[in-house]
């Protein structure tokens, strides 16, 4: 049963058969997978589904299966960030979003592959090996939430959660032809998300339709006292599911169509903007002059925060331990063996950027540039309702193409990282194909104005057929 089914379709099928049968059919599909999207399949998934059939559950996701990224804590279910250093680690508690999903009746199918500690754009740096793109198994699914996007695209799960520090939900959504949202910073609790760069990241939903993204946000969003950066603000995301963009003002930043952009991507995105015009929206060019510095600022901040956040993986309390004659040697040997190359590079660079003599040159400078990038968004969004641009400058690249040159991999994030520096919400929706590979349209909104970008995305989806195309895996 490798097909794309949305939440309402699954509910109808549960009605006709049972939650257990639906979960069983997804588990069967996962069993035949050729894309290495799942790292662990939960051995209690069927039991949970049976419980829902038996006890009834009126939650919005009753009996609906979902896949969860490897860096979101799940009680009793391995959570390793796809890193050898966390091999065998089983969290004793659930992340806030997992508590919410369980209360809503969702059935967790298992955990999905990612770049080690979410540091990457291709899901190649995982200790479980790369995930393959369901549209072309010679290509990457994007990253870092590559597993979460690929399993949805391959029909192995109808929904998933990822996390987005610099594009890690939107990039794989674009590369795999599904929908992915990075919420406003503070809209979804990070409690239980294993931190990489805590001032930048948010957990975000992935699905085959915009409506499912809104339904999922209504479940996982909202205030949580255990995340001190959680913002107390009510919103009903499904209110956004209205087909109307008349009068919508779109800003198109020139800087997002810069050097290295693929012609096919450019065409698909401009065709989409043309479609909006046909539907009654208007667009104008806007300038965001600090965009070119966002990438360096982002990487300095992300690496600096990572050097601090990843200090906890020292072999003392969980995961790998390599013995040494004292604690420092034990920790140094454990971290040398447990972390992969890219994670080590980022910790080393972050440590350097924060060290005496270099703090002002790198870290403080990056934070000041962050202010300028954020002001670019404030200026542009004062004038228009949303910004539209390509999510990624190219379609999915080949496996192995960029892995040995970290800088070339960083450059792929040019259109996604500014959004995280500014903390604004952004969604990637399928808007066509370039050389047979999916292209994502990125729609960026004002802080906490998810509903405007969801409505714009929903209206586009209702008036186009890009989201109905299927990869070979589910064709």
């Amino acid at each position: 049963m490798a097909a794309w089914t949305d939440i309402s379709g699954i509910k109808q099928r549960i009605e006709a058969s049972s939650a257990e049968e639906i979960t069983a059919s997804y588990l069967e599909t996962i069993g035949k997978s050729r894309i290495n999207g799942f790292t662990t399949v939960w051995d209690k998934a069927l039991e949970v589904a049976r419980g829902i059939d038996k006890d009834g559950n009126s939650g919005p996701l009753a009996g609906v299966p979902i896949a969860i990224k490897e860096n979101i804590s799940t009680t009793g279910l391995s959570t390793t960030c796809s890193s050898k250093i966390l091999e065998g680690y089983v969290p004793p508690y659930d992340a806030h979003v997992i508590e919410k999903l369980k209360a809503a009746g969702a059935v967790i199918l298992g955990k999905t592959n990612m770049d080690e500690f979410a540091m990457g754009t291709s899901t190649e740096s995982s200790c479980y090996g790369p995930t393959l793109n369901p549209w072309d198994i010679g290509r990457v699914p994007g990253g870092s939430s590559g597993g979460s996007a690929a399993v949805v695209a391959a029909g192995e799960a109808p929904l998933s959660l990822g996390s987005d520090t610099g594009g890690s939900v939107r990039c794989p959504a674009a590369f795999c032809g599904v929908v992915g949202l990075k919420p406003t910073y503070g809209a979804v609790s990070r409690y239980g998300l294993i931190s990489y760069a805590n001032s930048l990241e948010q957990i975000g939903p992935m699905a085959t339709t915009v409506a499912d993204i809104a339904i999922l946000m209504d479940v996982i969003g909202g205030y949580d006292h255990r995340d001190s950066t959680s913002i107390n603000r009510e919103n009903t995301y499904i209110d956004s599911l209205k087909e109307d963009v008349k009068g919508l003002k779109i800003g198109v930043p020139d800087e997002y169509f810069g050097e290295g952009i693929d012609e096919g991507v450019k065409k698909a995105v401009w065709d989409a903007i043309g479609k909006y015009e046909d539907m009654g929206a208007s667009w104008k060019k806007v300038s965001m002059p600090h965009t070119k510095y966002a990438l360096a600022s982002y990487y300095i901040i992300a690496m600096s925060e990572a050097s601090s956040n990843l200090a906890r993986f020292d072999g003392t309390r969980y995961g790998l331990r390599v013995e040494g004659e004292n604690w420092h040697i034990m920790a140094s040997k454990t971290r040398a063996l447990g972390f992969g190359e890219e994670v080590k590079r980022r910790i080393l660079l972050g440590t350097y950027a924060l060290s005496a003599g270099y703090h002002d040159k790198y870290y403080l400078k990056a934070l000041k540039v962050r202010t300028l990038v954020k002001q670019d968004f404030e200026r542009a969004l004062a004038d228009v309702d949303v910004l539209m641009a390509p999510t990624m400058p190219t379609p999915a690249f080949k496996i192995g193409e960029k892995i040995d040159d970290p800088l070339s991999l960083y450059l792929a994030d040019v259109n996604t990282v500014p959004v995280n520096l500014a903390g604004v919400p952004s969604i990637s929706v399928p808007c066509g194909f370039a050389n047979g590979l999916p292209v994502g349209l990125q729609i960026i909104g004002k802080p906490f104005d998810e509903n405007t970008i969801l409505q714009a995305a929903y209206s586009f989806e209702q008036n186009t057929d890009h989201h109905t195309k299927r990869p070979w895996e589910v064709a």
Binding site: G88, V90, P92, Y93, Y185, G186, S199, H225, S228, T229, I231, Y293, A296, I300, S307, A311, D314, T316, R317, Y318, R321, E323, G324, E325, N326, W327, H328, I329, M330, A331, S332, R335, A336, F339, K344, R345, I347, L348, L349, T351, Y352, A353, S355, Y362, K365, A366, L367, K368, V369, R370, T371, L372, K374, P406, L407, Y410, L421, A422, G423, P447
Partner: protein, 93 residues
């Protein structure tokens, strides 16, 4: 410029053992990224405040009262290095 010696020093600060054979390769890759970061020198940031955090949130406090916490058994379940309810690690000094 990060030298080979500097790589080993940062490795020590970050508690990541780097052997001599690896330090050249690290120095090369780290320097290529640092060169790229150097482009921020072009940006005029005089009088610009740093953004540590995008939202205007200040410290969030809770009442200092005893609450239920995770059971000790479960917290210690992820390591075999434990003794009498504690994590057991090699000596620090």
């Amino acid at each position: 410029m990060i030298t080979k010696e500097k790589v080993e020093h940062i490795g020590w600060l970050a508690r990541i053992e780097i052997d001599e054979k690896e330090s050249d390769a690290y120095a090369e890759k780290l320097n290529s990224v640092l060169d790229y970061f150097g482009q921020l020198d072009e940006v005029d940031t005089d009088g610009v405040e740093p953004t540590y955090h995008v939202m205007d949130v200040v410290n969030v406090f809770r009442k200092d009262e005893v609450r239920e916490s995770l059971p000790q058994e479960e917290v210690l379940a992820n390591t075999e290095h434990r003794q009498e309810g504690n994590f057991k690690a090699p000596r620090i000094m």
